[in-house]
């Protein structure tokens, strides 16, 4: 049979199955993809240029808008990098509160992932359940920080405010409810034979490719390599908390989905340990007047384990009251451009959306 001529398809900015505002230009022969190229740049706001015009505390309000589904790991990276450059120590209670906020953000973003992965394969009920339950976690955030999505709570020096009355009991009550619901998600999505058939063997990445391309996060753990910044290079209070890091050996979409399912349970157990063992004290070290606060010359790099992998923030100062350079690197920087173009070759058109949701390609953190 003769090969047909390749057609160009734009899996474009306006598409019901895409994970944000980006485009993948596909060359297709029949139903198989032979070449893919990612195009980003639809969301470029020039954050790093804007950060050079604002002082150290005004920049922190820009930081949470880097990555829209999970703003807290970015705020934590910026706060830790500035504390490293300026040499500030934060109190013990602030570290434990930061762990709580980061783990709540992880659970809420993984529930949004359930919705996205279900939508990409036609399971629309999953989105209705998990986005509806995510509202309970956003209620907790609203009581603690004042906003549902953009919190602006973790700043250099600690956190902004202490817990309100009875907050610990509310958190434990919500965690019990979510743990019950996780069994129902398991029945709906993971025991579903259509989901298993459409995800096993699809989007396979081998172990050598993963190591060679510098992949981070769940795609790395689903190939059998146990690597997590919370254990390799611990920060905040993670060295005092006991938890596991789940791994699988499949390397396809099914293995990544199993890894993510286990991570929610680990996060729930971390939150329970935090509420039990949190020490008392201040939540914030006092900093000088923000209009006149200068930081001595130097630079620092701080890494955090966000929901999708390793994120890092590089901060350089020249002795003034405005940052010289703030450079953020998201996990999708590697996954969405060089890795995606490689994995899509040989796949069907119907699997593109499922592969993108499983690799975690979120365009705002690529082009900032």
């Amino acid at each position: 049979m003769k090969r047909e001529k390749a057609t160009t398809l734009y899996f474009g900015p306006q598409h019901p199955g895409i994970t944000g505002n980006m485009m993948v230009r596909l060359k297709v022969e029949g139903d198989t993809i032979v070449h893919a190229r990612t195009e980003v740049g639809y969301l470029h706001r020039a954050f790093e240029k804007l950060a050079e015009r604002r002082n150290w505390i005004q920049t922190f309000t820009l930081m949470c808008r880097f990555c829209v589904p999970e703003p807290d790991p970015v705020e934590a990276s910026y706060a830790r990098a500035v504390e490293k450059v300026a040499g500030i120590e934060i109190p013990e209670r602030a570290k434990w509160i930061r762990v709580l906020v980061l783990e709540l953000a992880r659970i809420s973003s993984l529930m949004l992932w359930h919705a996205g992965q279900g939508h990409s394969l036609g399971l629309y009920t999953m989105g209705q359940w998990s986005v509806g339950d995510r509202n309970y976690i956003l209620d907790l955030f609203e009581e603690l920080t004042g906003g549902r999505i953009y919190h602006m709570y973790i700043w250099p020096g600690g956190v902004r405010k202490d817990f309100p009355e009875g907050f610990g009991d509310k958190v434990l009550h919500t965690m019990d409810y979510i743990e019950k619901r996780l069994d129902e998600y398991n029945d709906l999505m993971f025991n579903n034979s259509i989901f298993q058939k459409r995800t096993q063997g699809v989007g396979y990445i081998s172990q050598e490719k993963v190591i060679e391309r510098g992949v981070v996060g769940q795609p790395l753990r689903a190939c059998g390599i146990k690597s997590d910044i919370r254990i390799d290079d611990p920060y905040e209070a993670y060295d005092k908390i006991k938890f596991n890091v789940p791994t699988q050996t499949g390397g396809d979409i099914w293995a990544r989905a199993l890894v993510r399912k286990e991570e929610i349970r680990e996060s729930i157990s971390i939150i329970r340990q935090v509420i039990e063992n949190i020490p008392k004290g201040d939540v914030y070290t006092k900093l000088p007047n923000p209009q006149k606060w200068t930081i001595p010359k130097g630079d620092a790099f701080a890494r955090t384990e966000s929901v999708r992998g390793e994120v890092g923030m590089y901060v350089a100062s020249d002795g003034g009251n405005k940052p010289r350079r703030v450079h953020f690197r998201g996990a999708a920087y590697v996954h969405a451009i060089t890795l995606l173009e490689d994995v899509l070759v040989g796949a069907n058109i119907a699997d593109v959306s499922a592969i993108m949701n499983s690799l975690g390609t979120c365009p705002p953190e690529i082009e900032r």
């Binding site: 019901p16 505002n21 969301l43 470029h44």
Partner: protein, 181 residues
């Protein structure tokens, strides 16, 4: 839709009643605010009781929801999508970035005033707007439709030169097809 004076009043009232209870949103997340749209559609703040659901292509959609800021690259695609939608169509500006540029007021890549490039019917303020604010915005759009004042589509057709002039000032590589209305 605009108050069409060639039709009689009863037909117009019935048509507006039908249109305002079935507003389908185009599935296009142009910016930050797209993260609160799934929350508005699901069980707690149910927008489907008002008739609002998602539509996959521009030919099937009624409302274009510009959720947040627009860069010049996205504006080019949004204009093309808007011109592919069919009458009656409405535009809702979501968030403070659509009103006057928001917190990116000094950025070289975002537009500052959405009104110059597309006709906007309703603005919803906030950063980001809560789902209750989104439902209130849809309620306001419904009352504008009932009175016959939601006529962005007619305004775009009548004042096309004004909008095209503004668009061509910032979009440099102009390769749009020539629609003859």
């Amino acid at each position: 839709m605009y108050y069409d004076k060639t039709q009689d009043r009863l037909t117009e009232i019935i048509k507006n009643f039908a249109r305002k209870h079935s507003l389908w949103i185009l599935a296009y997340g142009t910016g930050c605010g797209a993260i609160e749209v799934p929350a508005t559609m699901t069980s707690r703040y149910d927008a489907e009781r008002l008739g609002v659901r998602g539509a996959a292509t521009p030919r099937q959609a009624d409302v274009l929801l510009i959720t947040g800021y627009l860069t010049v690259k996205t504006l080019k695609r949004v204009i093309r999508v808007y011109e592919q939608m069919q009458d009656p169509k409405y535009v809702i500006g979501f968030g403070s970035c659509a009103i006057n540029g928001g917190m990116y007021w000094d950025s070289y890549n975002t537009i500052k005033q959405l009104d110059l490039y597309l006709p906007v019917d309703v603005y919803i303020s906030g950063c980001m707007p809560r789902p209750e604010a989104v439902l209130q915005g849809f309620g306001k759009l419904q009352s504008l439709i009932k009175e016959g004042k939601a006529d962005g589509a007619r305004k775009y057709k009548d004042e096309l030169d004004y909008y095209r002039g503004n668009q061509q000032k910032i979009i440099k590589n102009w390769d749009f097809p020539d629609y003859n209305w």
